[in-house]
């Protein structure tokens, strides 16, 4: 990788100051996307601002009817958290199935959502659960936040500080993994909150994570696996690559949606 200067602030505020001061600086969270990208010389920031010592970006708290997770909380911490397991078990399950155990010890929720990889797991959870992304400047709904392939609404110098998930009555997540990378070929997160049902799909969309309105309507009528019988997602706008063509991925969306509902309903 190319040379850079290294900075380790101890608070999000200090990090924001450094980010503004250093031209071409990038934030380092768990580093499990950024460092491989830098090793391949696909990214060459002149400065790295490491968020690893920012204590104000870590931790999990239940506040009212929300689970609030600090941006630098690792996937392993979310997966093992008794609070998350009790409040939104599907979220703990999702975090426990990102990458592999070693990746989960380093990778963070803030890094994952800020990167918005089209095959990442967390974006599906944020969109389906109706989560709020909190930055050092403002609050954004998941819909406002994820804007496209590796694209988010984050401005220059803006830092994700935490993600707030409303507690829902039922939720489930199922993914068909790429056996080598463990990224989602297709991942579907379903959530039922009061009378509202959301179905979010990751890994499949040409523009990143998206909702499946037909499945939402069917599940709103009756929240059961059977409600999805015969429902097929179109292959239009679905990714195709060496791992799976658009038709196969579109088929997987239906299969994973059923598995997610089965998990959510305990059937």
């Amino acid at each position: 990788m190319y040379a850079f200067t290294y900075h380790k602030p101890t608070s999000a505020r200090q990090a924001a100051t450094l980010l503004a001061k250093k031209e071409d600086a990038k934030l380092l969270a768990g580093g499990h996307t950024l460092l491989p990208t830098m090793k391949q010389r696909l990214a060459a920031p002149s400065a790295l601002v490491d968020l690893g010592a920012c204590a104000d970006l870590k931790g999990i708290a239940v506040k009212g009817r929300n689970v609030v997770i600090g941006a630098m909380t690792t996937h392993a911490e979310v997966a093992a958290s008794p609070e998350v397991q009790a409040a939104i078990p599907a979220l703990a399950y999702l975090a426990g199935h990102i990458g592999d155990p070693h990746v989960r010890h380093r990778g963070t929720i803030g890094g994952s959502v800020a990167n918005n990889d089209p095959a990442a797991d967390y974006p599906a959870a944020l969109l389906a659960l109706g989560a709020t992304v909190v930055t050092n400047k403002r609050k954004l709904s998941a819909e406002e936040f994820f804007t496209g392939l590796y694209e988010t609404a984050l401005d220059e110098g803006e830092i994700v500080t935490r993600v707030s998930f409303p507690v829902v009555s039922r939720a489930g997540y199922a993914k068909f993994r790429n056996p080598a990378s463990r990224y989602a070929m297709v991942g579907v997160f379903v959530a039922k909150r009061g009378g509202e049902v959301r179905v979010a799909v990751t890994g499949a969309g040409e523009g990143g994570v998206f909702r499946w309105p037909e499945a939402e309507a069917a599940l709103k009528a009756r929240f059961a696996v059977k409600s999805l019988d015969g429902l097929k997602h179109t292959a239009d706008g679905i990714n195709g690559d060496i791992h799976a063509d658009p038709e196969y991925r579109a088929h997987l969306i239906g299969v994973m949606a059923k598995q997610a509902v089965a998990q959510a309903t305990g059937k």
Partner: protein, 166 residues
């Protein structure tokens, strides 16, 4: 250059390094601890797994400077003198390796697995948790057997130690 101080296998080390030095590079090239291997160099194969403050991480995807002040255990830190660690002994006993290249990462992952999940590991758990470690020779069968046996052996070895401590 920047200064990094770590405790590696119980020994305090300090060095001036380029910030882009990866933890695995630091271990291998600065400290000459070449038991930790670089396989894929893309965070997939797990040959580079070490314990960072007690947790298994991929040292090829970690900057040495970012873990300043931490404690690192490598494969060289497991055995006590000539006596192999119970997990190392189990890999030997059950022939959990062929060429041996992936073995240091496998063993560090196995010990991490026991730390997280305890001494009684079934085959499904072991195979799932070995997600981040790739072996091109064995077909994994004997690695899985070795880890199950090593986990039990760690329990037996640990029991008297705990009694002594109490």
């Amino acid at each position: 250059m920047t200064t990094v101080s770590l405790t590696v296998n119980g020994r305090a080390v300090t060095a001036a390094i380029d910030p882009r030095t990866l933890l695995v590079q630091f271990l291998r090239e600065n400290l000459r601890l070449t038991g930790t291997h670089v396989g894929c160099d893309t965070s997939q194969c797990g040959a580079c797994v070490v314990h960072l403050d007690g947790k298994a991480v991929k040292s090829c995807t970690t900057l040495a400077v970012a873990v300043d002040g931490s404690s690192v255990t490598t494969i060289e830190g497991l055995a006590s003198g000539d006596a192999l660690h119970p997990m190392q002994e189990a890999f030997r006993e059950h022939h959990g390796l062929q060429c041996g290249f992936c073995t240091p990462g496998m063993i560090m992952s196995a010990v991490d697995m026991v730390n997280r999940r305890g001494h009684h590991l079934d085959e499904k758990t072991i195979r799932e948790d070995l997600d981040g470690n790739i072996c091109r020779c064995t077909g994994y069968h004997n690695i899985v057997k070795a880890i199950a046996a090593g986990a039990e052996a760690m329990g037996r070895a640990g029991a008297p130690l705990r009694q002594a401590a109490e």
